[in-house]
């Protein structure tokens, strides 16, 4: 089984480097078991080497990895294709777990699954993958709204946006959600990053009906007086944003 220490080392940090504030969702979830009311999200991005290999990766995800995950774990998951991101082609799998232990158990089982191992080895020998990037996010139960019906998202887009917000070391202010909703921004994930650079960092996954709806929503937010105040107080800066479409084979767990 993969230990928590090994997992964090995959993420490029030592366990001690994890900036955790008591009482934050982060501190609750970095325990072996997540505290009541928090979930752990494993976000894994598969960056494809240049070339036309998307179909090979899709086959790996749709025919091998996701079905095996489905057998091991019933938690919700999403599979997304990047359409605007620093690296394309890219597919990203988000999977929510009740705790770190559960996530590690599933990952460990996947890693030892013969069919997953074989399919992954084939990808690697064909040099399909340029990089696989993992992040672990920690989210309060009430901030996780994975859709139950993905059909309504087939034509829309998803944005993943991260903020570096030094002043929000105790977590995102609760009034933020109301401000976002006013601008028609309804995150399905509103999470703290468990480890890495620029801590604390907050990641949102937001569905929009279209690129135009996205533009309109963020423009509305930028003009919102309360958001302007919050941004000034928090010194929050965007550290990354990418836009995705739902992968055709994505489904809920």
């Amino acid at each position: 089984m993969i230990s928590r220490r090994v997992l964090l080392s995959w993420l490029g940090v030592s366990a001690g480097a994890c900036a955790v504030t008591a009482g934050s969702p982060l501190s609750a979830a970095t325990g072996a078991r997540a505290a009541q009311g928090t979930r752990v999200i494993n976000l894994e991005s598969f960056c494809i080497a240049h070339g036309n290999h998307e179909s090979r990766l899709d086959a790996y995800l749709a025919d091998t990895l996701l079905p095996r995950m489905q057998e091991l774990h019933e938690g919700p998951r999403l599979c997304l294709h990047a359409i605007v991101a620093p690296h394309i082609p890219q597919a990203t799998v988000l999977a929510a777990f009740s705790s770190f232990d559960e996530m590690l158990e599933v990952r460990s089982s996947l890693a030892s699954s013969p069919d997953v191992r074989q399919a992954r080895a084939e990808l690697e020998s064909a040099r399909i993958l340029e990089d696989v990037r993992s992040q672990v996010l920690v989210v309060r139960e009430e901030s996780l709204h994975f859709p139950t019906d993905l059909n309504s998202f087939q034509t829309g887009i998803f944005e993943m946006r991260s903020y570096d917000a030094p002043a929000w070391h105790d977590g995102v202010p609760t009034r933020l959600l109301a401000v976002l909703h006013r601008a028609r921004i309804h995150p399905i994930v509103n999470a703290a990053t468990a480890a890495g650079e620029h801590m604390p960092r907050f990641t949102y996954v937001v569905p929009f009906a279209s690129l135009a709806a996205r533009e309109q929503a963020w423009s509305t937010l930028e003009a919102d007086a309360e958001w302007i105040d919050m941004q000034r107080e928090s010194t929050a800066t965007v550290t990354g944003k990418s836009i995705y479409k739902l992968a055709p084979y994505s489904r809920l767990g």
């Binding site: 080497a49 240049h50 990047a82 359409i83 605007v84 991101a85 620093p86 690296h87 394309i88 340029e130 990089d131 279209s210 690129l211 135009a212 709806a213 533009e215 963020w218 423009s219 930028e222 965007v238 990354g240 944003k241 990418s242 836009i243 479409k245």
Partner: protein
């Protein structure tokens, strides 16, 4: 939520070839990752021995509120590309060297427009489109300059001309650079794009790029000691204040200079064991004496270009050849006079810092090319495969690009102040004449990474002349596509696909 878009590479390179096949298997896309060498899976030539064209692929990258978002493709935007190619060499001035404005080429032709091959701009909207530059003429005869395509993601591909040079007046070829009555089909011009994100009404104009369509690159594994990337980096430093690191990296800054010089052994007989001191300083740090031995062999770029610096490096001719040729025996065999081209000041400072021990020893072995396509990497990969000097007048572009033309940012020309054809108009006409002439000219070489002087063939330890069998300008015009391409074969570089 303002978006800005830029086209990369900011200067792209599409090389001509006489294989007309414009299907994806008929051409290949040029390097897109710095340090990479493209070897087409089906060869540089087709089954009939015709040289495949090297396409330049252009991509659009987007920033939203200053945050880098990534590449913009047709999955999120309607993209309208516009490209104009032109060849205005015959209507421009004769090349007589930097600092000398020659009289007009074809001065007796009063209809100057008949000398410029200007098919005009072509536009494609969306993926999987094609448009041809097939309406240009020279003295009344049609001269196609190539085509543009878009791929399935809406990226732009530019394919240049076919290496066809001729004289409608049957004029003789008499000089390396200025042959009246002649045309070729190299070209250059602006690349622009209008981007409309899906759901938006108004298109946004992307920051424009430029494409040059020069002759083939016959020695892809051999990099110029001074590449066009180095030359235009210096332009950015001098004119735009572009910062370079105060402390050079051995791996990224010093090693490439050493490696390129060492690799010239594959394209000239003149190296012998003279570059052994370069081998001796790898891996770093080497001794201060060893580093100084290398550095002291370099010509200081602050020295006036026409001043002799016998036996200093690099052993390639000065841009100002016209001002030294015939004087003190320059250009004649075995005179010992040596007015050579220096590294750029930035390259020279890198070597100076290294010699003084002021460098980052980050050596873990020869660096492999990266694996990611990045905006800046696209530009670097395109330009590092071109000659950055000597420009007499140069093979891909001229000293105008380095010294005269305006830039809006490093490596990005101000297209509003330039016309299609400007980057190639001062080049030799036809290019084959200069290409034939620019071989080793005692005691120095011209650009052996573009026109190898001497090469090895498979299984042989003896040099042969690369352009063996070529005895005249006319031979080069007629038979250039028979010349061999150089490829890495294990530890050596050998000639392949020669069809002469």
């Amino acid at each position: 939520m303002p978006w800005t878009f830029k086209i990369f590479p900011s200067i792209g390179v599409a090389r001509i070839g006489n294989c007309p096949d414009d299907s994806p298997s008929g051409f290949y896309v040029g390097p897109e990752i710095p340090g990479s060498v493209i070897v087409p899976p089906n060869g540089y030539k087709d089954a009939q021995g015709r040289v495949r064209r090297q396409a330049a692929r252009f991509r659009i990258y987007g920033w939203e509120n200053g945050v880098f978002m990534g590449e913009i493709t047709s999955s999120v935007a309607n993209i309208t590309w516009t490209v104009e190619l032109a060849n205005t060499k015959a209507a421009f001035n004769r090349f007589e060297g930097i600092g000398h404005t020659g009289p007009l080429r074809n001065a007796s032709v009063s209809d100057r427009s008949s000398l410029a091959i200007t098919p005009g701009p072509r536009t494609i909207t969306g993926p999987n489109g094609t448009a041809f530059f097939d309406t240009g003429h020279f003295m009344g005869i049609p001269v196609p300059l190539g085509e543009i395509q878009t791929d399935g993601s809406g990226r732009l591909l530019v394919l240049g001309g076919f290496g066809s040079s001729s004289s409608p007046t049957n004029a003789p070829l008499t000089t390396f650079a200025n042959n009246d009555g002649w045309h070729d089909d190299v070209s250059d011009g602006p690349v622009t794009a209008a981007v409309t994100l899906h759901g938006n009404q108004a298109p946004v104009q992307a920051s424009g790029a430029w494409v040059i369509c020069p002759p083939p690159r016959f020695a892809p594994p051999i990099f110029h000691i001074i590449s066009l990337y180095d030359a235009l980096l210096q332009t950015a430093v001098d004119r735009l204040g572009f910062p370079v690191p105060a402390t050079p990296s051995f791996t990224n800054d010093v090693y490439p200079v050493l490696k390129r010089a060492i690799d010239y052994q594959w394209v000239t007989t003149k190296i012998g064991n003279k570059h052994d001191p370069l081998q001796a300083v790898i891996p770093p740090p080497a001794t201060a004496d060893q580093r100084n031995t290398v550095f002291q062999a370099l010509r200081d770029p602050a020295i006036t270009p026409t001043v002799d610096t016998p036996h200093l490096m690099p052993a390639i001719w000065t841009d100002f050849f016209r001002d030294v040729f015939g004087i003190r025996g320059h250009g004649s065999p075995n005179t010992g006079h040596w007015a050579n081209h220096a590294l750029t000041p930035t390259q020279y400072n890198v070597m100076k810092n290294w010699a003084a021990g002021n460098f980052i020893n980050d050596w873990v072995g020869p660096p492999a090319p990266g694996t990611s396509i990045t905006p800046d990497g696209l530009t670097r990969a395109a330009l590092e495969n071109c000659s950055g000097g000597p420009f007499f007048p140069g093979i891909e572009t001229s000293f105008f690009t380095r010294d005269v033309y305006p830039y809006v940012e490093p490596f990005r020309l101000d297209g509003t102040q330039l016309n299609a054809g400007d980057l190639s108009k001062q080049q030799a006409i036809p290019w084959q004449a200069d290409f034939f002439d620019c071989v080793f000219q005692s005691p120095l070489s011209w650009w052996p990474a573009a026109h190898p002087d001497n090469v090895f063939t498979a299984g042989s330890n003896n040099y042969v002349t690369w352009d063996r069998g070529m005895n005249s300008f006319e031979d080069m015009v007629n038979f250039w596509s028979g010349l061999g391409f150089l490829v890495q074969s294990g530890d050596v570089v050998i000639e392949t696909e020669r069809t002469l």
